[in-house]
Symmetry: D2
Subunit: 382 residues, 4 copies
């Protein structure tokens, strides 16, 4: 049974293997779901209408696999891709699970750990390229510190830059058609992590050797943990031409990293995000980095995956309706929303301007009405 | 009576006129302290050992003053400066109190409001230059939104850039020796503010016409509100060579903007910040942007001001002791803190490296011992 | 023009005089809207379909009014009530604006301040009773501390109890038909406030002289500031039979007290709250303790007020639809939601039970499907 | 080598087996430390000066052990206790790790899961009593919900009460000298947990069958996650005579559950807590529910444990110094801290009182000076 919100490959929905494959382990509890075969994930997601899957190196090829094991695994995985037409638009490296990374990866104090991390990433870049990925995500899960004395942040940024530069150099050397997308996060699993927000990562890129090769993969949950507006973060990322990828999920402010189903928390925030992506003509993937509640068995995982995509499509329809809603458009005019595109003027114009200060102070912007209209649009009663 | 922690002008402590002049008004209560004459603030702060005072235009010259009123006020203020030797190293503009700015200032939807905001800033730049300021702070108190539909964030950033570029152009035209320092804040008084963190502002600067003229004024409370590490933020700012000024105070995570006395909350965070400033040879001001509790009468204001400075000096002494503490230095070696300065190496070196993965995974970093030693240093028992 | 969501008096919507009368002052800005005559508020709210208005003593009668001034004001106000049929179901005291309360009111260290606070409350209770209120709200806006050394929390709770007991004694002495509702809040304007959550206040009531006279007035924004579930808080309040009144608005976690229009943030949270109130047959007021954005002129205030009520009615309709939605009801069965009402059993039954642990561990609860169905109900696509 | 801060058994420091036994697993990473034999933990902690160890049933006896395996394990453990003189003052049940509890334990929708949870607790109570524990802690790690529709909070509280009542009945039936201590937590691992704060749990106790048998085990990290003052929470718990046990650690507001070394974050908060415990003559355990950073090897665990205890003792010494510090005592008088113990008076006295409102409004409380003096005491410079 299909409706207007049935996902199709042209919607460009993707999932990480680690998302549907999440077994429900958490800091206080063991796995509740059996491991999921990556090929099975590919087939199930294809059946639901997804466009592709993304992966960490070890989601597919366990750490320590021999070359021939790797080959066998890849062959099996490719078969599933070929059968379903599913793509692998993005790949990334697991630099956080192994004990070797407990003190950091690209910014570990021990240079050998750093070398190990960079080399694992290079291998993983090969894997991504081999699978056809065009975006390489870097999430610095262990790049941070609890005991501040142990880490010189400026030196850590030097090392972070060095590692990203090395990866860029490698990509260039190999001639891969691959861009890097940094994924910021404020904390968890480290007390404080480097490049904690979209802003910090955008600034960092400017110091790199090949800044044009590097952009961002902002994640809904990660900005939201800090109470920052994710939509504003993505908008600023676009303003810098640095939106290379995006991670969609849901999260409550000031809590552990929840990675809930997209739209399950923060409906209004999710709506404005979809509006930004759709209105700006974002032509990249709609990637979900989330997982099913621990209450779920294997079936619940596919309910979860379908729900992510359906909510996106429902919100997308509302974006279109918002454009055509005469009353909302009128409220936008009252709010003078369109006038923000008008330049303020030259220095001479500014100095020459005269002001009716009282009138400017008295005018209202009708934001309550506007916001209420949007709320009613979201609630489906207009 | 003096001790080792008695402030002196060479410590470069400064206060805003609005800090000691804060009358204790808050969202739920009226003023509890009488207005404070700026000249009196200058004299009292000088007597306490401060280096200078900073100001918003309207802290000194009320909005709407005539040129002759302005002149009278300035003369009186200069007299106090001259008598005491106090400096005005930084100036800024009040773009948030007047009703005209209720929808924004540099990013108001109405272009006339934006022109008014820029012109008010230009006048205020003149005032700052006249008083000898070399840093011009820009805090966008009203640059933000509650009803997201009302504001296109990318257009807002265009306008923000335009306004800062205009101010830079003006400073260049006038030949002022003045640099601009942007002050990020995540929220309050707006629901979400633009340039919410140090990172977002650092990234923004790269898009400006004269990026070299613009840096940051990070504030302890503002980063801390979002749960981000202020010390990391300042370190990254330094890494980009963009620390132009700094606002010191105290704040609890996830609460209203508290602007408490420096060091009164977050002692450990305050210590690492002082360590960063002192170890990096920061030669700028130690500016306090805080105010006395509402429980205080006029005397409490000076207790507050003295306390800010004393705590800084106490922490500074601890920074020096940390350098000389053999056990801490040993713990830093165990943590391999110094090895973060060693380059990771070239691509060839990384690819050629061999690893004893088990040994690297097994090694401990002694961060518990290190952190405990620093805690005991802070508590004054070593 | 009316629709299904047009408020009517039987919906029992009420507003504080201070909510529509809010002039847009905030910590960083002056008033942007003119004062609003309480009689005008009554008439405008009546015209919108509200049931009544609530007030602080000084919302209506300025502090320091003479008895005859009080009489004149009251007469004028009563005329508006009589003309419109509007009620005053709740009254409260302003124990936070005056400088005298800067260190506390019921828990001020100075006994004279405490006496002043209690007496102001007694006078205000008279006013409330005179206007027909049956609920007396107590929000301890200044009951808290920043410098912990200054306040013994246990002694503060003794004094808090003493003050509430005195007010109960007075109500009994006067024979008023009035119950007291405590309103918890975690912080702002004090660094930490006493009775910070619904739970703390519920526990406190058990130590009072007349616990049956005292219940709660939980506020959406206040619990949400701490990241706690407001719906859970209200449910526990009901579980203790202590829901005497309720304050509806909207708030983002971990931010300043925003008091936004009901439903403008946290749509899902607002829905579950309305569901709880409606499903439990709550027969009290739906009181809005919120205010218009500072961007609004006088008209925006009424858009704000209407929006609060409309969103409640829209959500109420969804509650009814949820009861009749067969798929949602099926998902609730899969989640075993109804089985939570079944007792666990006696000690003997528990000890005698045998378990198929593997089967119990394997079963799924279908919460992803359930939650998605509710999301789609909220979005109006089912 | 010993100093004034060397822990000794009479200080009543205890650790959970799960704290020193923590292997450094987190949501993003595998174990980094080998399992620790409980008997080894007992011996190492004894050598450091601890008084005892506490445990979950499965910390000592793995789930599914046969009676004879249980006996062997217990014998070995008792030997270590006997050799060292270490006590087991508290025991608790693991109701969160097993997949069977994924939807809840005492408040699971499925009655069979609830019976399983209660029976596991009864067995665990036997174990605790056998080992000499006098406090039984109940932390409802899985009592909560993500998809609010799935759980009726009032029914959940009914079931929660039923389960605690059953346990009390069992303790009475067996004649154990054991009191129950509820441990509140706001979230993690569930989206929202029941009894989220100290206040909610205190209120809940009043509805139990044997409220005198049940009190609290407040945890520093759990209250702090919500931004609430832990010291205030403990003070209110004492005010209700319900402090039965306490969990000490460190945590930053609004982040994942960190369980850091006591005093490593929030030094000032830790100080006021120690002051409350010491000044009130708390004669229970000082239990640490924390664990070593993931950066640590096995040695770091003992650095961690020692650090917890040392910081407590250092702060305790400062509490004593605060009592004798004449300047601080003078500042407390200026703050009128002692006058909070004076009753406000009778209704007649309050009504008869006359006020010099202006003088009361004008007086200052010297909280800035007071707080600064305490800060300098903490920093060891007075």
């Amino acid at each position: 049974m299909t409706d207007n919100y049935t996902p199709r490959p042209e919607h460009h929905f993707t999932f990480g293997l680690w998302t549907v494959g999440n077994q429900g382990r958490d800091p206080f509890g063991h796995e509740v779901r059996p491991p999921l075969d990556p090929a099975e994930s590919v087939r199930r997601l294809a059946a639901l209408g997804a466009y592709g899957v993304n992966l960490h190196d070890n989601d597919l090829v366990p750490h320590g696999s021999t070359p021939s094991e790797r080959e066998t695994i890849l062959k099996r995985f490719r078969t599933a891709l070929d059968e379903t037409g599913m793509q692998v638009p993005m790949a990334t490296t697991n630099l956080f699970s192994l004990p070797i990374f407990k003190e950091g990866a690209f910014t570990a104090n021990d240079p050998q750990v750093r070398r190990f991390a960079v080399r694992k990433t290079l291998d993983s870049i090969d894997l991504g390229a081999e699978l056809g990925a065009h975006v390489y995500v870097m999430w610095g899960g262990r790049e941070g510190v609890e005991a501040d004395a142990a880490k010189d942040v400026r030196a850590a940024l030097d090392r972070y830059k060095e590692a990203v530069d090395l990866c860029c150099e490698y990509i260039r050397e190999r001639g891969y058609d691959l861009r890097i997308a940094l994924e910021p996060k404020p904390n968890e699993p480290r007390g404080d992590m480097f490049l904690p927000t979209v802003g910090h990562a955008l600034a960092f890129i400017n110091e790199l050797e090949w800044p044009g090769m590097v952009g961002l993969n902002p994640e809904f949950a990660h900005e939201t943990m800090s109470g920052l507006s994710f939509t504003h973060a993505v908008a600023q990322t676009m303003w810098h031409d640095k939106l290379f990828h995006i991670d969609l999920n849901a999260q409550r402010i000031g809590k552990y990293d929840q990675d809930f189903r997209f739209g399950s928390e923060g409906i209004r925030d999710a709506f404005y995000l979809v509006r930004l992506l759709e209105d700006s003509g974002w032509d990249g993937m709609r990637h979900f980095d989330a997982h099913a509640y621990r209450t779920e068995d294997a079936d619940g995982v596919w309910d979860f995956a379908l729900g992510c995509m359906r909510t996106y499509l429902i919100l997308k329809e509302k974006v279109e309706r918002m454009r055509e809603d005469a009353e909302i458009q009128d409220a936008l005019r009252v709010a003078q929303a369109d006038r923000l595109a008008e330049p303020t003027g030259t220095l001479a114009e500014v100095r020459a301007a005269s002001f009716d200060e009282a009138a400017l102070a008295a005018q209202g912007y009708g934001n309550e009405r506007l916001d209420q209209l949007v709320t009613e649009l979201l609630l489906g009663v207009r």
